[in-house]
């Protein structure tokens, strides 16, 4: 039961993008087409789940055990960077088109604050291993949901009559604000 709660909390109620403002850069950068947004979401979900799976043992069995928890940022960043590198290799191999479409945003997952934030929250909230993985996966799913919603709206926006002053980045940010407002409705349902 707790696992389901963690999953739903991470993906909807405490959605990283829309309630914590983490991971905004790909959220705005790669959300112009649904296909790219979905791929970006899947790649980030993969990285997030593996991050949780890798950083938890690193933290518990190495950093805490040897009494050097102050190394957590460095250790987490190294682990995340390695995972992103892996994802990049895989995508490059499996689909050059997606690789080109994602461009710079793919390596930028390395410094995506949502991923590091996930690792730090996990430590902060004392999750055990299974909970951490669910938390990581839920966060990734939440990220993907936000990406998909954003890209869906932005695709419709192509045909909408946007006033000239709002065109481009500004209307995107306004929409992001409205979505955050909508997600406020979930606030307080579960912690």
């Amino acid at each position: 039961m707790k696992l389901i709660l963690i999953f739903i909390s991470a993906s909807l109620i405490n959605n990283f993008v829309l309630t914590y403002f983490l991971g905004i850069c790909p959220f705005l950068g790669v959300s112009n087409k649904t296909e790219n947004a979905l791929n970006m979401g899947l790649a980030t979900t993969f990285v997030m789940t593996l991050t949780a799976a890798v950083t938890w043992p690193i933290y518990t069995y190495i950093l805490v055990k040897f009494n050097v928890p102050f190394l957590e940022y460095v250790a987490f960043i190294i682990a995340i960077a390695a995972l992103v590198q892996l994802v990049e290799m895989y995508i490059r191999k499996s689909s050059p088109a997606i690789y080109r479409a994602m461009g710079i945003y793919l390596p930028l997952i390395t410094t995506n604050c949502a991923v590091l934030g996930l690792a730090l929250f996990m430590v902060l909230r004392d999750y055990n291993y299974i909970e951490s993985i669910f938390f990581g996966f839920g966060t990734g799913v939440g990220f993907t949901i936000a990406m998909l919603m954003m890209s869906g709206i932005r695709e419709e926006l192509e045909f909408a009559d946007v006033p000239e002053v709002f065109q481009g980045v500004s209307i995107t940010l306004i929409i992001a604000g409205m979505m955050a407002l909508a997600f406020m409705g979930f606030a307080g349902l579960i912690r």
Binding site: I58, I62, N67, V68, L71, I78, A79, A82, M89, R92
Partner: protein, 284 residues
Amino acid sequence: MTGGIVIISMASMGGIGAILSLFLAYADKKLKVEEDPRIEALLNILPNTNCGGCGRAGCRVFAEALIQGTASIAGCVAGGQAVTDNIAEYLGVESQKASRIVAVVLCRGGNKEAVKNAVYKGERTCAAANLASGEKACIYSCIGYGDCVQVCKFDAMAMNDNGLPVVFHDICNGCGACARTCPRDIIEMHPLEHKIFNYCRNKDKGAVARKICKVSCIACGLCVKDCAVEGGIDMIDNLAVINYDKCPQDDQPTKRCPTACIIFGEEEKMTRETYYASLPKEAV
């Protein structure tokens, strides 16, 4: 004690790093992307200037298209015949004759000829000045701030002392970057066989055009009559438009032009050498 922590930190970070890099090294082997070695070889043949003259996003994309067979081997306009021959030799197909294309600036209304009716003090680019319709009275004319020269990757253009761009006929390889940049579309790409041009784009009526520029096309129609072939030159929107399919490339239609805006064989005179030789000594 501090020393102990340092050693433990170093050992743990080193250990994590080592394990992850081992893992990545393994993944790199497993997931290695086999790139077609021919792309690299073709890139060595191509000019690698990414000028976009072939209509593709860059030399690499063109090389990929060549291998897939979706591009013509004569597609690289910047490289010309030599590159086309090399590509053909490398791919083992028969070479095609690359048609050389050069840029032609279709305005001769420089500072001396064109009337100015405004002073422009903004950003010194044609794109910006075009928003305020430039300094010259003629709204079809060259603005004269040299966006085309800026964008030329091959040093095949320069702004002359009359405020007009010149194309070095021997250097220009026809990538078309200048034609795409010009906000007034007065630069056109033409194959070498085209030798007669109407160097004016003014669509105003003759009386208006004559007032604002000394070398404007006033739509008198003399060249239309003088062209040896019927329909070789048409009068469209107060402009003499040369129909290159029909009009014989000689100086017959140019002889009676009252404003000398239609000229034959002018382009090939301008090479880089003749241009720089024509400049005053101190300017060089």
